[in-house]
């Protein structure tokens, strides 16, 4: 095809697209001025819902609470409704997605600088690329307003701060714990283990009595990694292993990492996990524990709410314990730390000030509403109120007690390392579930990937 024709093609194409646009996109309510504000567009097709023109604005609130039966979803809707009532000119458009889809969507939107007014990011290394691309508005001034900053637990905001600029406000702050089914443990005749060695023995005993010792939804890979990292936190004798790797002080071939792999293999060899663990997604794995089919379950404290309301928790049947020492190393009061997903505001938001005002309101009301919805275990803000009196279960109280013991710990792998290295670590850990591998070889593979993707 000749150049001239190509040019002609291009022109004609623009014409047709423009035509079809006016044909299809017309009939909408508002001719939104330059409607490229990501989700901010008040779109065409639906009938006129908007009230008088002037300063009516729509804020798009991308979130990961899509399930209407989930307390978080109800909480969010309640706060949003109240805000819309108080500010009749503001419409909050909820774009509720599941986690995976939200991640994909945000990445696609970020590539074309189309970030919605409010979106959801994960802490530290996971949000670094977005911050580097200068997509988010700093919230330093906003968080000072109405004393919002003081509602957050001390130190938590650091995970969302880059070069002294705060870019996101977290909804959660969790730790890794082991839930256990008291009835099944009793049936198996095992005690709560205080060392990893005891844990292995307990697993073998449970297994021999036909009780499923542990469950895990390893299709999602971060689940096994979270447990693995807790073992590493022990074999390393304390936190900071990944940071040492980043600083060039250690490599993945360090004995601490190799020992962690060996210990993890002991778990697998002892038959700790259910058959086919790698095809269970997170929910399916957790549901096995919730339906009372497994004795122990290692997970972040965010699972508390779900387990609490499940069948298995009747009569205070579920307890929690700290992950034990491994090979006599480590301090059980150091936990896997999981600062939660967090709300960030697009730098290019058409209504930056209004969006900030809304998010400020939202976060201020978050702890109170969460407390009432019995979802306040593991949120990132301080809660005034007597949990016991409010009817929180004994298990929830135990989890809260564990929070008080925290003397530091490590972040999940993907919050410390870049995505490419993380992917190698995740699939390396997943492979431990299904085949016998030389720990040194697994470690070496990761080290190679790390050097390649530094």
């Amino acid at each position: 095809m000749t150049k001239r024709k190509m040019k002609w093609f291009g022109m004609a194409m623009t014409g047709v697209l423009a035509f079809s646009l006016s044909a299809c996109g017309g009939g909408g309510s508002t001719a939104n001025n330059a409607s490229d504000g990501g989700g901010t567009t008040d779109s065409g097709t639906a009938a006129g819902t908007t009230e008088p023109a002037a300063e009516n604005i729509t804020i798009t609130f991308q979130n990961i609470y899509p399930d209407a039966s989930d307390p978080k979803n109800q909480m969010m809707k309640k706060i949003v409704d109240q805000y819309e009532k108080d500010n009749p000119n503001v419409t909050i458009e909820l774009d509720s997605l599941n986690t995976d889809q939200q991640k994909l969507k945000l990445k696609t939107q970020a590539a074309s600088k189309e970030v919605p007014d409010i979106t959801v990011v994960n802490p530290a290394a996971q949000m670094q690329p977005f911050v580097d691309a200068d997509l988010f508005a700093p919230l330093n001034d906003m968080v000072e307003e109405n004393g919002l900053k003081d509602t957050f637990q001390s130190g938590i905001l650091d995970y969302y701060t880059f070069d002294n600029n705060l870019y996101a406000l977290p909804d959660g702050n969790n730790i890794g714990v082991v839930f256990y089914n008291k009835k099944l443990m009793e049936q198996g005749g095992v005690e709560v283990p205080t060392t990893f060695e005891e844990m292995i023995e307990a697993i073998k005993t449970l297994k021999s009595k036909g009780i499923q010792p542990m469950v895990l939804g390893e299709k999602d890979t971060w689940t096994g990694s979270f447990l693995f990292m807790n073992i590493l936190l022990r074999t390393n004798g304390g936190p900071g292993f990944l940071q040492d790797v980043l600083d060039g002080k250690k490599t993945f071939e360090d004995p601490a990492y190799v020992d962690a792999i060996t210990a993890f293999q002991q778990l697998v060899d002892a038959g700790a996990f259910q058959d086919g663990a790698t095809s269970f997604d997170y929910n399916a794995g957790e549901n096995l524990f919730k339906t009372g089919t497994a004795a122990m379950y290692y997970m972040g404290s965010w699972a508390t709410g779900g387990i609490e309301t499940a069948e298995v928790s009747k009569d205070g049947n579920v307890g929690v314990f700290q992950f034990p020492t491994v090979n006599g190393k480590g301090n059980p009061d150091e936990f896997m730390l999981a600062p939660g997903s967090a709300f960030a505001i697009s730098k290019d938001s058409k209504h930056l000030e209004e969006t900030k005002a809304f998010l400020n309101y939202f976060m201020l009301n978050f702890p109170k509403e969460a407390f009432e919805a019995k979802g306040a275990v593991g949120i990132a803000q301080n809660v005034d109120g007597d949990f016991k009196a409010a009817g929180y279960s004994e298990m929830a109280m135990n989890v809260l007690d564990l929070f008080k013991k925290v003397q530091g710990g490590d972040l999940a792998f993907d919050n410390t390392m870049n995505p490419a290295v993380t992917q190698v670590h995740l699939s390396g850990t997943q492979s431990l579930f299904v085949e016998k591998k030389d720990p040194a070889a697994v470690a070496k593979e990761l080290q190679t990937a790390y050097e390649e993707n530094k």
Binding site: D132, S279, P419, G428
Partner: protein
């Protein structure tokens, strides 16, 4: 020879609307992807032009790539050499034995129209361990073949075949439909003439149906090849490419690289390889069938 002689403006009026939508939304993105394949880019921030580095890395250092290629071709191979022939056989049998074939053909087609979300959920349940309600393992256990039970989706050597089976099952009806309509289209006079010459039943199939149905068979094979190469949603739903990449195919590898590990440039390079393989294979299949058709006609 076509009889309608028209001005180039008329041609433009007929062909351009379609071509513009198509070129603008399918072709231009692919050109962009060709270019992205030359970048070191996480999809968000600054990009660096790295020439063919992505391809060099893919062919020489990516431990996942070649096994994924092998699995992709295994899937395509099963689809072309097992699924399509079975579909042809079923289509021949339907034409021969069934008086009102439409209900049957339509029913066989049903899995094609169901969302992969449903298909994936169903087969995951079928493959589950017996203790969790897995049908296959429950049946094996109940007939005393306990040693044959497997964790079908999580044993690295088996998992990909478990997925291939689902894929073959899902699209069988699609190919039955195509073959069936192809056979329907063979004029019945030919069979009648052959019958007079003493060829009927399966003999007629061998000497009439098979050669006559070749063009349709070609379409079926090309579609099954392209479909196999692009299939990835089933894998994402069932295993997510795991355990440890054991069920990773080219399309899922591309998706993971582009969107999970944020190596968008690298992911684009994989996409480009995928498209190239499709192109080459289509040309080869065409050549092969042209030869076959010549030999038979």
């Amino acid at each position: 020879m076509n009889v309608l002689k028209v001005s180039r403006w008329t041609i433009a009026a007929f062909i351009l609307p379609c071509l513009i939508v198509y070129v603008g939304l399918v072709f231009i993105p692919i050109l962009v992807s060709l270019y992205s394949g030359l970048l070191d880019w996480n999809g968000i921030g600054q990009s660096t032009f790295v020439g063919l580095d992505n391809y060099v890395k893919m062919f020489t250092r990516d431990a996942v790539f070649w096994p994924a290629v092998r699995r992709t071709f295994t899937l395509a191979g099963f689809s072309m050499l097992v699924q399509v022939p079975i579909a042809l056989l079923v289509a021949v049998l339907i034409t021969r034995f069934v008086r009102r074939p439409n209900f049957l053909v339509s029913s066989y087609f049903l899995p094609v129209i169901l969302s992969v979300a449903i298909i994936g959920q169903l087969w995951k349940t079928i493959y589950n361990p017996a203790s969790m309600g897995g049908m296959i393992n429950q049946i094996l256990t109940s007939v005393g073949l306990e040693s044959w039970t497997h964790s079908w989706l999580t044993e690295p050597k088996i998992a990909i075949y478990a997925i291939i089976l689902v894929s073959l099952w899902q699209y069988l009806g699609y190919h039955i439909l195509i073959q069936f309509t192809g056979i329907q289209n063979i004029p019945s006079e030919i069979y009648e003439a052959a019958k007079i010459d003493g060829a009927d039943g399966f003999k007629a199939d061998r000497y009439i149906t098979l050669p006559m149905v070749l063009p349709i068979l070609k379409i079926s094979i090309v579609l099954s090849f392209i479909g196999s190469l692009q299939s990835f949603d089933l894998i994402m739903v069932m295993t997510g490419g795991g355990p440890a990449h054991a069920t990773e195919v080219l399309a899922s590898h591309m998706y993971n690289m582009s969107f999970l590990t944020m190596q968008y440039g690298y992911g684009s390079a994989i996409a480009n390889v995928l498209i190239t393989i499709c192109l080459i294979a289509t040309v080869l299949i065409n050549l092969l069938f042209n030869r076959l058709e010549k030999r038979y006609s």
